[in-house]
């Protein structure tokens, strides 16, 4: 039996919007609408879907950057060896939870403070959480720079972000994240801004670190080919809901939900002789079917831990 690191149950995040400055009409946008998943120790889950489907909102709710509307997030507490709901944490426990869950952002050009040098950027989380003495902290920074492949570290410590290339900056982001020795890292498209040639080295670095440091990722991307490389399981999200979740190769070989089929068929294949057949569906139709389902849609297991949403999609098949 695999032990779960994190369990998410019926997570919801709604945003209220008003139609205009003076309008009293309020409407609710259901950015994340009742999603559930779990991530076992040492495994990575890919969260895949189009822009605006709620991937990043899910990530921010998980990292407590935004307060969730409802739902449960349970995290394995290494001290008590139990799953604990994050709603019941006191201040002290909350701090330790935050240490264990970190995030890597999409844009390495905007997520690093341009006025700080690399040493200060990586040192900051240690200072905030007051870990170790000053010299221990500095040693930790040097050590982590070596881990992420920025060697020799002395060359990088005094530099500023603008002096580094995109790939190097993303390595700094990863170093800043991993210096806290988190168990769980949420990655929001960390390679989408990088060049193809550099992308693989960052992805390989993350995979190796996951193995060495026993980190689990929630890897957010819109590119299934990237998710395939990075993740053990993939969850496909559409309009705030997870429509299909399965082990990576199983999902790609045997997609059930029409949206999953559409996503897979829209990835260009690096082979000019390959004839890609696009599985076309009507998104408005699909949206209607899913949003009409006012009760939370359930997921059904079709074998091999392959779960598909149970709403009726026969109309668009």
């Amino acid at each position: 039996m695999k032990k779960n690191l994190i369990e998410v149950k019926n997570l919801e995040k709604y945003f209220e919007t008003s139609a205009g400055l003076f309008s009293r009409k309020k409407s609710t946008i259901k950015a994340v609408d009742g999603i559930s998943f779990e991530i076992p120790f040492g495994e990575s889950l890919g969260l895949v879907g189009q822009s605006g489907c709620g991937k990043t909102t899910t990530a921010r709710a998980l990292c407590l950057l935004d307060e969730k509307t409802s739902g449960e997030i349970n995290f394995y507490n290494t001290d008590t060896k139990n799953m604990e709901s994050i709603d019941n944490l006191n201040e002290e426990e909350m701090k330790s939870f935050r240490r264990n869950i970190q995030m890597i952002f999409q844009d390495p050009y905007e997520s690093l403070n341009p006025r700080w040098n690399i040493k200060d950027i990586i040192l900051e989380p240690l200072n905030i959480h007051n870990i170790g003495s000053l010299s221990e902290r500095e040693d930790a920074v040097v050590e982590i720079l070596k881990t992420v492949g920025l060697t020799p570290p002395e060359n990088y410590l005094p530099r500023y972000p603008h002096e580094l290339s995109g790939g190097q900056r993303q390595r700094v982001s990863i170093a800043r994240t991993l210096i806290m020795k988190p168990k769980f890292v949420v990655c929001d498209e960390p390679t989408s801004m990088l060049d193809v040639s550099i992308r693989i080295s960052i992805m390989d670095l993350m995979l190796n670190l996951a193995k060495d440091l026993e980190v689990s990722y929630l890897y957010i991307t819109h590119d299934l080919a990237v998710a395939r490389y990075m993740c053990n399981r993939i969850a496909v999200m559409f309009n705030g809901k997870i429509v299909e979740i399965a082990e990576t190769e199983e999902l790609l070989k045997n997609p059930i939900h029409p949206y999953t089929k559409r996503l897979i068929s829209s990835i260009p294949v690096p082979d000019p002789t390959y004839e890609r057949v696009v599985y076309d569906i009507d998104f408005t139709e699909l949206d209607n079917i899913i949003s009409k389902d006012t009760e939370n849609i359930g997921m059904v297991d079709i074998g091999n831990e392959h779960f598909v949403a149970t709403h009726d999609v026969k109309g668009i098949l």
Binding site: Q50, V196, S197, I200, L263, S266, I267
Partner: protein, 324 residues
């Protein structure tokens, strides 16, 4: 024998900066046949966009084309006056710029902005004729007529990009350059735009230069392609041949680093290091510092760069072909 719509020979372009001359385009030679789509692939900063800008001569003020020739349908473009160039741009070569969907003027309706371009080149057309033309273009790229009266902020990213393509087609150009037209879009929208471009190309028999960093997109969109590295074309030829039998180490590295959703899961290889600075003088093969197995010859800088023909219409850089 298909006629060439565009012939570029030994084109050199550099930027004059405070740090020195940045040689962005070095000795580029390629041609595009009528009705063909030609791909240009390479990583950021390799000079793809500089080539595109040189073709329409819209490069930045500090850029100088030092030598070479660009012939569009037999007409030499280098040395034309600004006025003559104005008639070539859009009429002869139109370009879909990178991130062009964010370049719409936010306070002018989409239709009006396209009409402006048509008016410039066909001053005798009536307003009604122009609007008919725009409706025709919109139908081609899959946009509703009503978009003509919309402002840019009312459209989604995909719709704006479609409108940019309509704008590029508005003056019946002989050649369209698409510079990373789908880079900021997500996969499903990218797929729709790619299909739209293919459809339009078939319909109009358009000649197309497709620029992208994504080799998978190039594989789908083009018949012939060129791989650029550090300002040079290091390999060019029919897309199928380059994918099945890549000759240059850089092309191989690009192919090995691209993940795919079909076929067996393979271990991808990363390409470490960074492209060389284009300010420094080139010594020997510019790819040798990143090459997986450079010979003594490559490293010492004795090898010369330059394309040689390895198969019918398939060219690759001398240095790499000799290494094998």
């Amino acid at each position: 024998m298909q006629e060439n719509i565009l012939e570029v020979n030994n084109l050199n372009m550099h930027y004059e900066t405070l740090g020195g001359e940045v040689a962005a385009v070095k000795d580029i030679t390629f041609h595009v046949k009528k009705g063909e789509s030609f791909g240009l692939v390479g990583e950021s900063g390799c000079g793809k966009t500089s080539v595109a800008m040189s073709l329409v001569q819209l490069q930045a003020d500090n850029a100088k084309i030092s030598s070479g020739s660009i012939k569009l349908d037999g007409q030499e473009l280098i040395g034309l006056s600004e006025n003559e160039l104005r008639s070539v741009r859009w009429d002869g070569i139109s370009i879909v710029f990178q991130g062009a969907m964010n370049a719409w003027n936010p306070v002018i309706k989409i239709g009006e902005q396209i009409r402006e371009a048509i008016r410039e080149h066909y001053p005798n057309n009536s307003k009604l004729q122009n609007i008919e033309k725009i409706k025709e273009l919109f139908e081609m790229v899959g946009l509703d007529e009503s978009i003509i009266d919309r402002f840019p902020h009312e459209l989604s990213g995909g719709m704006k990009q479609r409108a940019v393509i309509a704008l590029a087609l508005s003056c019946n150009p002989k050649l369209v350059i698409a510079d990373e037209p789908t880079t900021a879009l997500d996969v499903v929208i990218q797929d729709q735009i790619l299909n739209e471009i293919k459809k339009v190309q078939d319909l109009l028999g358009l000649s197309l230069i497709y620029i992208s960093h994504d080799i998978a997109v190039i594989a789908e969109m083009t018949e012939r392609m060129a791989v650029m590295y550090a300002g040079r074309i290091v390999e060019s030829g029919p897309t199928k041949n380059i994918f099945s039998d890549p000759k240059h180490a850089y092309t191989r590295a690009l192919l090995e680093s691209t993940p795919s959703v079909v076929g067996e899961k393979v271990k991808l290889n990363s390409l470490d290091g960074e492209p060389p600075s284009l300010i420094d003088a080139e010594i020997g093969c510019s790819f040798s510092p990143r090459c997986s197995k450079p010979t003594e010859n490559c490293k010492s800088g004795k090898s010369e760069m330059g394309l040689i023909e390895v198969a019918n219409g398939h060219f690759a850089d001398k240095c790499c072909v000799e290494c094998g």
